[in-house]
């Protein structure tokens, strides 16, 4: 028996917000694959749960009129993995979605929960960071938008007022995915049901002649207190030629920006090695899909 005081099921975003305001300390829940574990471990007690799993407006993936991809926060990883839109426009996200937990988990776990849970190891986050995604957050005074970059403020902490706000949509702007190619690499001790030891997503756009980097974004997870963009390295390599020197600079740059720690899962040393290695692999794979070649 879980230590639950009361459960609600909201049928609309406005109802969920009203229930949040009426119930002090209530927890928003959708698939429950993180929250139920917190309950089991007694990190959450006497819970008041507001389920948003039945809110249809939070589900599904659509291309907006302006070409932006809008992913409802209540969309499951299985739905993201199977989505034609995602496979067509941002295939690295389909790949990352399929790295989460197990098939059973992916049938219920949602992308919104993965982001709001604030885990530094969230598989859904690095690729979305590399695509410079935005979040639409509903509150009492309407919708506010903010970039995913900066949303995470610490381990398990996000810039969301849990007593009055709800993440509704993840937006990948057309300008941030069109012409871009991305790849995600995750390292774990086993291939399934595994929390990332370290993850890295690289998203790039090549120059018209495919001889140099036009735009580059690198996102790393489990390498700092929050998922991280390596902005200094990105800036330094903008315009760089596709050479082994550039890859060496990428490895060195990423290494200088990450701050991994020792944990029971892995040592800082291993994570530093992984940051170098995975950023190179993700870069090479993104480059290959973009049709570029190292000369």
């Amino acid at each position: 028996m879980y230590d639950i005081r009361k459960t609600y099921s909201a049928s609309s975003v406005s109802e969920a917000l009203r229930l949040l305001l009426e119930n002090d300390g209530a927890t928003i829940i959708s698939g429950g694959t993180d929250v139920m574990i917190r309950l089991k471990e007694r990190k959450l007690k006497q819970a008041v749960l507001i389920s948003i799993a039945n809110i249809t407006e939070l589900k599904g993936i659509a291309v907006r009129e302006n070409g932006d991809i809008a992913i409802g926060a209540g969309t499951t990883f299985d739905e993201i993995y199977r989505s034609e839109i995602i496979r067509e426009c941002v295939p690295a996200l389909a790949f990352a979605a399929n790295q989460v937990g197990s098939p059973q988990i992916r049938h219920v776990a949602t992308i919104g929960g993965n982001i709001c849970n604030g885990a530094v190891s969230a598989d859904g986050v690095p690729v979305l960071l590399a695509y410079d995604s935005c979040l639409e957050i509903a509150g009492v005074s309407g919708i506010r938008t903010q970039t995913l970059s900066g949303f995470h403020t610490g381990p398990g902490k996000v810039n969301l007022d849990q007593s009055s706000e709800l993440l509704t949509t993840i937006v990948i702007p057309r300008a941030e995915y069109e012409g871009y190619f991305a790849a995600y690499y995750k390292f774990g001790q086993r291939n399934a049901m595994e929390i990332a030891t370290l993850g890295c997503a690289v998203c790039l756009r090549l120059s018209a002649d495919k001889k140099s980097i036009d735009e580059l974004r690198i996102a790393v997870s489990v390498a700092a207190p929050t998922p991280l963009r390596c902005r200094k390295t990105e800036a330094r390599l903008r315009g760089a030629p596709l050479t082994n020197q550039t890859i060496a600079a990428l490895r060195k740059g990423v290494l200088s920006e990450v701050q991994p720690r020792d944990s029971w899962r892995a040592s800082r040393q291993l994570r530093l090695q992984l940051a170098k290695e995975l950023s190179e692999r993700a870069f090479r794979q993104a480059l290959e899909t973009a049709g570029g070649e190292i000369v």
Partner: protein, 155 residues
């Protein structure tokens, strides 16, 4: 608090009063006697409690019964057709000796039914990924994969 829940379980409509904190595993086992639903890790990792919720495999241990209100549930008990006749997935598990201690078997059978119902064919490697939400400490998975290959057909 007690809530009234309506579910369609193994072909039958049921109405139950359940505690809001009750997991679907506990409801299926303790109130409906469906003991094929096993309690393993109770953290969504081992897959022993896997049932089909509206045709999709779900870990019932981390799923609240109140969330299943209005939904359709299938467990191994619901696979029975004519007396003495096994579901093709069950028969394949028997034929390929895919069962040792048996604890993971009901969950794997349900994922097997989901895979078979998809109507698609898979490679052995794809099947391996599809059953990655189940832990089996006896078989080493090879006979389980042999059984599944028999049912879904090789790609």
């Amino acid at each position: 608090m007690i809530k009234i829940v309506h579910m369609h379980v193994n072909g039958t409509d049921v109405e139950l009063g359940v505690d809001e904190g009750e997991s679907l595993t506990d409801t299926l086992r303790n109130r409906l006697g469906l003991t094929s639903v096993k309690k393993g890790c109770e953290a969504g990792e081992c897959g022993a409690c896997t049932i089909l919720l509206d045709g999709k495999s779900v870990n019932s241990c981390i799923y609240l019964t109140v969330w299943a209100d209005g939904h359709t549930i299938l467990t191994v008990e619901g696979l029975q057709r004519n007396p003495g006749e096994l579901h093709p997935v069950q028969q394949a598990f028997v034929d390929e000796a895919a069962v040792q201690c048996g604890f993971c078997t009901p969950g794997l059978i349900m994922t097997g039914v989901e895979i078979a119902n998809s109507g698609e064919t898979y490679t052995r490697e794809e099947l391996r990924e599809l059953i990655s939400g189940h832990l089996c400490r006896c078989t080493g998975y090879e006979n389980i994969l042999n059984a599944l290959e028999k049912v879904v057909g090789k790609k």
